[in-house]
Amino acid sequence: MVTTTEKRKTYYEELIDKGYSRRDFMKFCTFFAAYIGLESSGAAQIAKALENKPRLPVVWLHFQECTCCSESFIRSSHPIVADILLDQISLDYTETLMAASGFQAEQALEDTMKKYHGEYVLCVEGTVPTGADGVYCMIGGKTAAQRLQEAAEGAKAIIAWGSCASNGCVQAAKPNPTIATPIHKLIKGKPIIRVPGCPPIGEVMAGVLVHVITFGRLPELDGSARPKAFYSKRVHDTCYRRPFYDAGLFVETFDDENARKGYCLYKVGCKGPSTYNACSVTKWNNGTSYPIQSGHGCFGCSEDNYWDNGPIYKRMATFPGFGIESNADTIGLTALGITAAGIAAHAVATNLKKAKIIDELISEGKQSEQELKKD
């Protein structure tokens, strides 16, 4: 992947030097193979790559941001991750953690850009404001835009961390007063990977970096340059509250009886059905929970322009891409057998269609019960 005249240690050598055993190393590889969605042979692939590849220089720039991406990154849960990512990748510049300040910090950045020209990975956290000639974000007397161009020039690839760098996030919400701009709109001709979310899940960030380290190239991306492994499924698709949705059981208002039974949050604004992210699979903070599990709807923080996609607590009128499911009211009312004056006429057709499907499911269920009894 990287060729330099200077001999740098491989990841494996580094880990062994640090006192980790071969077994620890293999455990780590297996863990990440699972994360990146590789088959069991993938662990061997990662192991082989890490045993033979030298350390990857990484530069991490901060612009208009809140540093939640860095914070999420240091929360990634596997123990070796902290070592790999803080020491092993040779994180040569990050304002959040580096010891040096001022011109010594600038020097570290310049050294890396020169020495590893064409080899280093550039991570970007935050947007770049282009309003007023860029004066809304200045570091070391230069604008964010100037710094980004300089650092991007010699980068092998660019990782846009979080919704800011990927799609603008909160400062780019209307009226976007500083003209906060995501990275792919400013840099052309470089491979860019977008890892949206506010912030992205720590393990997802680690997973993306490990993929780059392991295979020397970006992971497979979708049409929006997001890593497929983590952004190809809707939160709704794998949500553990999904059965309540299908059964038409909804929280009507926060902390009502239904909320205490963990029903679906669609009616109080959950955007899970239109949000592509790994929250309901990977979960947050080493699998502890995710927004829906803690009773609040997803508000789609990894989607483009999510701040302007309607109020948080307003239910979505329709779901893109859902055939039989149209509107929670109709589904809920049918399933519960309630009639209400408020049903719109146009919903009736869907209502009947859904009712038929539910009837079929019920009879299917009864049939399998019968079969079980026979056995």
Binding site: C66, E95, M98, T130, G141, D255, R260, P291
Partner: protein, 572 residues
Amino acid sequence: MAQRVVVDPITRIEGHLRIEADIEDGKIKEAYSSGTMVRLLEEIVKGRDPRDVWAFVGRVCGVCTSVHSLASVRSVEDALDIVVPPNAEAVRNIMFCVQNLHDHVVHFYHLHALDWVDVVSALKADPKKTSEIAQSISNWPKSSPGYFSDLQKRLTKFVESGQLGIFANGYWGHPAYKLPPEINLIGVAHYLEALEWQKEIVKVHAIFGGKNPHPNFLVGGMACSIGLDDVSTINAERLAYVSDLLKQAQQFAEQVYIPDVMAVAPYYLDWGGIGGGLGSYLAYGDLPTNGYRDKSSYLFPSGAILNKNFNEVFDVDLRSDSEVQEFIKHSWYEYAGGDSAGLHPWKGETKLKYTGPKPPFENLNTEDKYSYLKTPRWRGHAMEVGPLARIFIGYARGREDYKELVDSTLKKLNVPVTALISTLGRTAARALESKLTAQWALDFYNTLINNIKNGDVRMANMEKFEPATWPARALGVGHTEAPRGALGHWIVIENQKVANYQLVVPSTWNASPRDTNGLPSAYEAALKDTPVHDPNQPLEILRTVHSFDPCLACAVHLYDEEGKHVSQVKVL
């Protein structure tokens, strides 16, 4: 002749901060603090649903995550006269304590420690002696000679590799580093251990708020309903998990963090006489034990102390026109009433006006405007906010828990109370505070459990959640004590929408530029007279600035009374 030194970027902080300092005879004569990034979130939340604002302004900062969301929901609840159920208050308080503790530990080890701990010197440590010292200051189990010897071997190989990563170009070997190699080695060990620890404690936020950073809040309470008989809500398993995490957190604070601060402090007692600064302190108070409206029930009391007079604590009124005001004489904004006016947040007006040099530049014109931070004042006074302010106000209010904690610490270090008015004092105050919050978190947990035992499972008051129930116009203010100090959000709601929104945050108080009278704010005042051994190695500047735990993304903002965007912007 003074020499102008520029430190930009100041690293190991949140956000973008620049310090320019004039150094004469080895000391700082004048210092200037500049925030160099602005996002204008207050402009963005205008016209939106007030119930959504906590999510927007939560994104002000991902380091002190949750505090802005808390202040925001409180401002809306204040405006709409909503009282949250006791369980929601308890959960918010637990999350508050977790944030405070997490932030203080991460600040000490990952943002501040490298100002005091020389990583390279740790290579010379004797592991056996290191172990003896570690065991003499704490009963933390990871303290064997083998543990330190293994770590040292790893560290040696790391340094020998020549690729120092985040430790590159540090000020290693600077004469201001005073710790013996053994304590440096303990510092490095705990730097790494704290990195592991910090991701555990935040799981409490994930349990109640779904994730961290940026857990979810809710106007009217919290969204995490209690359902003891349900697998998918807050049940006995979730509660037991919280209890376990809080106990672990307390153990780390008491057996690692606090002993480390106490072990390092004796080597830097001279810093008990450096970086004192203003001597005026402000806290809004927080951690209600009888509801947010009963200020007398706060575990963090509110108040103001002027000019080191600890015999008098003033009450603070956030609604009063003449108490909290913001000035822009040296900020890149302009007021209709001219540059010398001071405006209360509900009545503020702001118009962005960058008049600084065109980048790339070498120096700012500090005689003119030089920061995106406005300059807040309390009754016209510059005030320091943060853990030290809270400790002093609790102490001066005569609270027994504070007195006992402070007095015993001073006795241990054999220094007078005035030694706390310093760079070292700020760092020590953070550790002392963590002792309190670690225990309070458990107390609030017990409150929550007792409520549930008594049959109260309410987590949100939804009576006024629907905008149809709101008055046509309402004013609210929500406050909290962020890890870095007093935080206030002011909201004006009109016709169910945000008409105005204003944040005055801790780092605006501390890091702001000079005021109309040319008087400095907390950073600038504290840096005055700080010794600088080598202007090319601004270690001493970092010590004092980091002692405030800067957090700059929060500190800059724009407010416009007319609801128009008034700054001049164009696309490149």
